[in-house]
């Protein structure tokens, strides 16, 4: 997956993992079952309106709270191809990288993008383009080591490759 292209769902600051996937649904590790309840306590319509390729846009400290990997997993499985936020909580940040959910930090893009805008992201260049308004932004690139993990498709695959080498 080198790009994301779709409609945006826009949320505010401090979106926590309890609203991304409430603990009452954590009695299963099944990604599809989790995705059905993604964002439920913040935006009941999200799970039924999201389509493959869509993007999630949020403010500061996205994914704060619990370490549940179920949160990025639910977002990824719901069809979201990229989360753009002003900043990410650190466990969410590493979980997203480890499971191969593309994330980008870009304050200006978050301020510029409106709910429902058609947005396109090129992960190799980090360019975010709002097709609805014609604006575009450059996201902060990941350090080389992190890019390697993403290229391998996640941390476990990266480790396997290192071990096989």
């Amino acid at each position: 997956m080198n790009e994301a292209k779709g409609k945006t769902f826009v949320y505010g600051d401090n979106v926590d993992t309890d609203v991304i996937i409430p603990a009452r649904y954590l009695n299963t590790p099944d990604a599809k079952a989790l995705a059905e309840h993604c964002m439920e306590d913040l935006d009941e319509s999200f799970a039924k309106n999201v389509k493959e390729g869509d993007l999630m846009i949020a403010g500061w400290n996205f994914g704060c709270g619990s370490s549940r990997e179920h949160a990025p997993l639910a977002i990824k499985t719901s069809g979201i191809h990229c989360v753009i936020a002003k900043s990410f909580a650190r466990i969410f940040y590493r979980n997203a990288i480890n499971i191969g959910l593309p994330i980008l930090e870009c304050e200006a893009a978050v301020d510029g993008i409106q709910p429902g805008d058609e947005v396109e992201v090129d992960f190799t260049t980090g360019v975010i383009c709002d097709k609805t308004t014609g604006q575009s932004w450059q996201a902060e690139p990941f350090p080389a080591f992190i890019q390697d993990i993403i290229r391998c498709g996640g941390w476990m695959k990266y480790l396997r490759q290192m071990q096989d080498r």
């Binding site: 401090n14 926590d16 309890d18 609203v19 409430p22 603990a23 009452r24 954590l26 009695n27 299963t28 590790p29 306590d41 913040l42 500061w60 400290n61 704060c64 709270g65 619990s66 370490s67 549940r68 990997e69 179920h70 990025p72 997993l73 900043s87 909580a89 650190r90 466990i91 590493r94 979980n95 480890n98 499971i99 350090p143 080591f145 992190i146 993990i149 996640g154 941390w155 476990m156 695959k157 480790l159 396997r160 071990q163």
Partner: protein, 420 residues
């Protein structure tokens, strides 16, 4: 180059003479931890990647604590998955019902962490063990899987905020009030990606239970870890709990901190964090209008022995206000037994409370105290997000055991200094 205490531990575990903030490293792990929610996801990742053995069965800890004794069939399947994996891989530090406790109270009690360790846990409150002078941090299930397979984890070396403590706490004020006050000051992302390093003369006046509580909530300020220097109290604690030989790391005198915060412990008052963020801290005294339906005393933050002592001091011979449900959960079986031996359980029950065996249940809205629409709970747990303990219109107010127990008697949020 001068290093912080955290950086020294990370450098040693990455086999480097020095590290600096922002550097990406691969570190050796002294321990890996998971629970009944995060371990099944880790097992799936472990198997999917084709690993067939763990790096060291002695260094892995699996604790069933979130939904046990199992709340439903799905939760029971998750526990069963953990049970058979631990059996197959000869993981001896597997804590099932009967010997389990809430993981972050249990591991220090069982001597599973020592000073100088580098440890990850698939639970955000793994940062608790910084109280013992270890580097420990919460991660996700994939990191746990990789940790179990290889004994390693990747880290971005954090910069640090130094919290200089002076003075000592007044009666009815505890470690919980210290950390809630700090989060109120710096915000829920005030220490994002950073270490919170506690130092100063005030450290010696804090009990180990207070230090564990303070480090436990470092994550609520966004921190990677919280850490205390090792002193005589730490060493006595580690010895009493049969932990491995401690290795003491000290920050360099000229270590660089991004920010220095001074806190006079004698100025801290009982506080309450209002919904829906832990940074929404207010003095308990200014929260007295708020009526409550439920009280929860327990969790990895405040289910330790001193928390039970504080609860007993308030509840003994008194009665919970009519219409208020009070749930008390000692965090481990040893604490539970000690509460029985001390006569606490009878006092709690006679006061109108219920007492459960260890579980994380209500803290995350799992079971054992779910809130109905618009209900309010004062809780010694660690998060008050929307829907955290039940319906999305319910509210959680975070406080210390003293404040929660006294509020149980009055039926509204109350300042425990007014007790007696």
């Amino acid at each position: 180059m001068a290093m912080t205490m955290t950086q020294k531990i990370l450098a040693a575990h990455a086999h480097l003479d020095e590290v600096k903030a922002g550097q990406l490293i691969l570190a050796d792990l002294d321990g890996v931890l998971g629970n009944d929610i995060t371990t099944p996801v880790a097992i799936a990742e472990f198997e999917k990647a084709g690993f067939d053995s763990v790096f060291d069965p002695e260094k892995i800890n699996v604790v069933l604590d979130h939904f046990v004794p199992n709340k439903d069939i799905k939760a029971a399947k998750q526990s069963a998955t953990c049970r058979s994996f631990c059996k197959e891989n000869k993981i001896s530090h597997f804590y099932d019902v009967g010997k389990m406790g809430i993981e972050h109270a249990l591991l220090p009690e069982q001597g599973r962490v020592t000073a100088g360790d580098c440890l990850i846990g698939a639970d955000s409150h793994t940062c608790t063990y910084g109280a013992l002078g270890a580097f420990s941090t919460g991660v996700g299930s994939t990191d746990m899987a990789a940790g179990m397979a290889t004994g390693k984890a990747w880290f971005k070396v954090p910069s640090a905020i130094q919290v200089k403590l002076t003075g000592q706490l007044n009666d009815f004020v505890s470690g919980k009030d210290v950390i809630l006050s700090l989060i109120g000051q710096i915000g829920v992302d005030g220490a994002l990606y950073k270490s919170l390093e506690f130092t100063g003369d005030g450290v010696k006046a804090l009990s180990m239970d207070d230090r564990l509580c303070i480090c436990n909530m470092a994550i609520e300020a966004g921190a990677k870890n919280g850490i205390f220097p090792v002193d005589e109290q730490t060493l006595a604690f580690l010895k009493a709990h049969g932990a491995n030989e401690p290795k003491i790391y000290q920050a360099d005198e000229d270590a660089v901190y991004e920010q220095v915060i001074e806190m006079d412990l004698s100025q801290i008052v009982p506080v309450v964090s209002w919904p829906h963020l832990p940074e929404n801290t207010h003095p308990a005294k200014e929260s007295q209008e708020i009526e409550i339906d439920q009280v929860v005393i327990g969790s990895c933050t405040n289910g330790r022995m001193e928390d039970m002592d504080a609860t007993y001091r308030i509840l003994k011979g008194n009665h919970v206000k009519d219409g208020v449900r009070c749930i008390i959960i000692p965090a481990t079986m040893d604490i539970y037994k000690q509460c029985i031996a001390n006569g606490y359980l009878m006092a709690f029950i006679e006061a109108g409370a219920v007492v459960s065996t260890p579980t994380c249940g209500p803290c995350l809205g799992g079971y054992m105290g779910i809130l109905a629409p618009n209900e309010r709970c004062i809780s010694t747990t660690n998060r008050n997000f929307v829907g955290r303990m039940g319906d999305k219109t319910s509210e959680v107010y975070l406080a210390s055991p003293y404040t929660a127990a006294y509020s149980a008697l009055t039926g509204h949020i109350s300042d425990p200094r007014e007790f007696e």
